[in-house]
Amino acid sequence: MSAALRMSTWLESLFTDVSADLQPSWLQVFRAQQFEKFLHRGLPTRKEEWWKYTNVAYLEKTKFSFPVLSEITKIPLKKTLDSAILMVFKNGRFSQELSRTHLLPPEVILSPLNQAIITHENLIKPYLLKKQPELRNSLAYLNSAFARDGMFLYVPENCIVPYPIHLLFLNTEQDDFISCPRNIVIVKENAQVKIMEEHAAYQANNYFTNVMTELYVSAYACLDYYKLQNESSTATHVADIQVQQKHDSHVNTFFADYGSRLAREDLTVNMHERNAACHMNGLYLLEQDEQQIDNHIYVDHVATNCNSSMLYKGILDKKSQAVFNGKVFAHAGAKQTHAKQSNHNLLLSPMAEVNTKPELEIYADDVKCTHGATVGQLDENALFYLRARGIEKQEALQILAQAFVEEVMQKIADPDVKKYIQQQVRQHANL
């Protein structure tokens, strides 16, 4: 019996809940279809090449429920991004009182998804119902079926949003729940916006975030997307991020992962029109036994003269495990494709494990594609050099680890976001 079937009883009852939501009928139909698809596919298994190193079978052991509304009235974090437009979701539901949006340019639509589905139905519908190939991650279907809230952002043509939009998903004061936020971002021609999606926890355990974010970037538009995953150490975080780029658009992504017992980030970038560029960067810091991070990236080069780069760096301590799988696919006709991939790992413990697989699948001849991966320890000579100059071993280790992550930190263009992430990085891995 497949895991999905074993889970199906309580899943069915959750789905009954979702179906009772106030919603347009097409959405109800769509959700039912997506739910069927998930039941058909089931949980991903390690037999699938795309899930070779990551086992999520344990998820079936918990009978997850939907969270009840949180009563929390203050953000229980040391800091939020000061200068930002802030949208807070408590246990997956939008919180008006914790959010602040007064800096938002008036022509921009920023709304919780469950409201937007009513107020901007015609705008959202084609994006949700678009035809798409079979998804590699079956949990994305579960997200489509169960998504009850999230962010809807529409940045009209030529509009520049001057401040980053900080999207904060707070999981608080509850255990064993499932949260499936769905974010839809539409950036129209020549517009610019920066988004920071953060997942954080406060007194919550063994919950399951299954988030999906869709980013539609029109011609000449620029999008910076930062994703910070700082969930509780007993949580599971599965994210599916889909990027659609039109010609001459520019996207930068940055993934910072330090939380969760298991985090899976699936990033898919479609470059179906010419002259698009996407630069993907990531940092993962694992400091607990049995902690696992799995970054899967798929870049689809279809059109000519597109540019992609990946730089992911990770530091692993204790009995933790990191997986990196970057795949660049250049179709016939994707002439003048430039694609770069690199993944570098630092192992601090004899029990840590890295599985990295930077792949190229190339069917076009006029391309320049490179990839590189390294796994290793800190440079003993450098360590010795620092200690010979009187620096304590622990501090020397920190200095070198910091130098290791610095290269990727430099990729964060926004100074406030950079500072914010730097602070978080320092809290983790004692950097």
Binding site: P350, L360, I362, V367, K368, T370, H371
Partner: protein, 480 residues
């Protein structure tokens, strides 16, 4: 435009595509326990061999063909393959080269592999395998003086059963994979090498594989054992006639290197690749693996893969001994409709083990070329080192070049470096060569040869030039 000039380069035909008319003893197509018993009986094998074959066969029946490789071909009907075909011999078999059927000698001469002990290959001992059997081995006396055993597998089973029983299947067990299981059940011949302790093999050893009979599968098995402090360099070459049907070649090669021993294994694979439209050609599904059992042992694979319709092979090294070294140097060229999924596995188990992987892929025409490699460092492999470099060259816009490297590290003292790039042949380099008066064809060949230089350098001298020429021939008519 450059591409149009490239397209004009004319095609040379596969020059080894002739058929030898020779009377053969051939089984009816099909595979069953009976066929295996027959093969074993024909070879007068001891009981342990038959038992092993039958176990392999029983296991094979439970398996289905692997689907994960990046290759496409219609399903193979394993009941439609002939599992044994051998040239008829009048007596018990040739005792010396003089007794070998002149037609066979002529065949090898035409292939450029003279079986008399002088001439071009005077420094190389050759074992010639024709369809399912070994027909001749040269320089046996000279090698015996040094204590080296170099003979056909069948002969080894008769003369050295204790060595065969000890090492057969010890590196590639019959359970390893679908094709290894099939080979274990039905293999008919191959080469056997044993280098005794402390001996440096006085000459290059070489096996030349030739498929001649139609509808016949070739399932040979090679076993090389280098005892402690010994050294051997071994080379295999392969060709087949041009036929419209696909033919299956499923070989197994096992290498064992004990303390301080070194095995250098080179392959120039030029099985018939099929025609321009992809009709015919050999399916080359081969399992090759070496075990560095002893400390400070070394196994080095070098392969030049220009032939076959489909190539599926991953010459690998299991680095068990502390300080052992594994190397893999590869040039794989796919032109027309050829497909290659090839690479290596380096399994680091011992302390301070080192591996190097240099892979050069060249894709032309509608060829698909895949590098698939695994570098695995187990928890006990303190101080393991790997350096991998994969480079792919694309000639034309209808071919593909793919790289699937798997890196699995469970020890923090490991140092693993992997780099790869894929690009088309440099426009600036081509222009530079042509400005100096070289034709487009010469310029392409020169640049591609330069690209492969690092790998060619690893080949024994006698074959480096051969390999370079082979590449040029295989490349012609490729580019568009």
């Amino acid at each position: 435009m450059t591409n149009q000039y490239l397209k004009q380069i004319v095609n040379k035909n596969y020059q080894y595509g002739f058929i030898t008319a020779i009377e053969s003893e051939t089984f009816a197509p099909g595979l069953s326990e009976e066929v295996i018993r027959q093969i074993s009986k024909l070879k007068n094998e001891p009981e342990f061999m038959l038992a092993w074959r039958l176990k392999a066969y029983q296991h094979w029946l439970t398996l289905s063909p692997p689907k994960w490789a990046h290759v496409n071909f219609p399903e193979i009907d394993y009941q439609n393959i002939i599992y044994y075909s051998a040239p008829k011999v009048k007596k018990d078999g040739p005792k010396s080269l003089e007794e070998v059927d002149p037609k066979l000698l002529e065949t090898y001469k035409k292939l450029g592999i003279p079986l008399h002990e002088q001439g071009r290959l005077a420094g190389v001992a050759v074992d010639a395998v024709f369809d399912s059997v070994s027909v001749a081995t040269t320089f046996k006396t000279k090698l015996a003086e040094a204590g080296v055993i170099f003979c056909s597998f069948s002969e080894a089973v008769q003369e050295h059963p204790e060595l065969v029983e000890k090492y057969l299947g010890s590196v590639v067990p019959y359970r390893d994979n679908f094709f290894a299981a099939l080979n274990s059940a039905v293999f008919s011949d191959g080469s056997f090498v044993y280098i005794p302790a402390g001996v440096r093999c006085p000459m290059e050893l070489s096996t030349y594989f030739r498929i001649n009979a139609a509808n016949t599968g070739q399932f040979e098995r090679t076993l090389i054992i280098a005892d402690r402090d010994s050294h051997v360099s071994y080379l295999e070459g392969c060709t087949a006639p041009m036929r419209d049907e696909n033919q299956l070649h499923a070989a197994v090669v096992e290498l064992v290197a004990l303390d301080n021993a070194e095995i250098k294994y080179s392959t120039v694979q030029n099985w018939y690749p099929g025609d321009e439209e992809g009709r015919g050609g050999i399916y080359n599904f081969v399992t090759k693996r070496g075990a560095c059992r002893g400390k400070h042992s070394k196994i080095s694979w070098t392969q030049i893969e220009t032939g076959s319709a489909i190539t599926w092979k991953y010459p690998s090294v299991i680095l068990q001994g502390d300080h052992s070294v594994g190397e893999f140097y590869s040039v794989a060229l796919t032109n027309h409709r050829q497909q290659a999924d090839t690479g290596t596995k380096m399994i680091h188990m011992g302390k301070n083990t080192r591996s190097t992987i240099i892979s050069k892929g060249i894709s032309a025409g509608f060829g698909q070329n895949t590098y698939r490699g695994l570098v695995r460092v187990l928890p006990q492999a303190q101080g393991a080192r790997n350096f991998t470099q994969c480079e792919s060259l694309l000639l034309g816009d209808t071919c593909g070049a793919h790289t699937f490297p798997y890196i699995e590290v469970k020890n923090p003292t490991a140092k693993i470096e992997h780099e790869a790039y894929t690009s088309k042949i440099g426009v600036d380099q081509l222009f530079y060569c042509r400005q100096r008066g070289l034709s487009m064809e010469d310029a392409v060949c020169m640049i591609v040869n330069g690209f492969c230089k690092r790998v060619f350098n690893e080949l024994p001298m006698e074959f480096a030039v051969e390999a370079q020429k082979l590449l040029e021939v295989s490349l012609e008519g490729s580019v568009g």
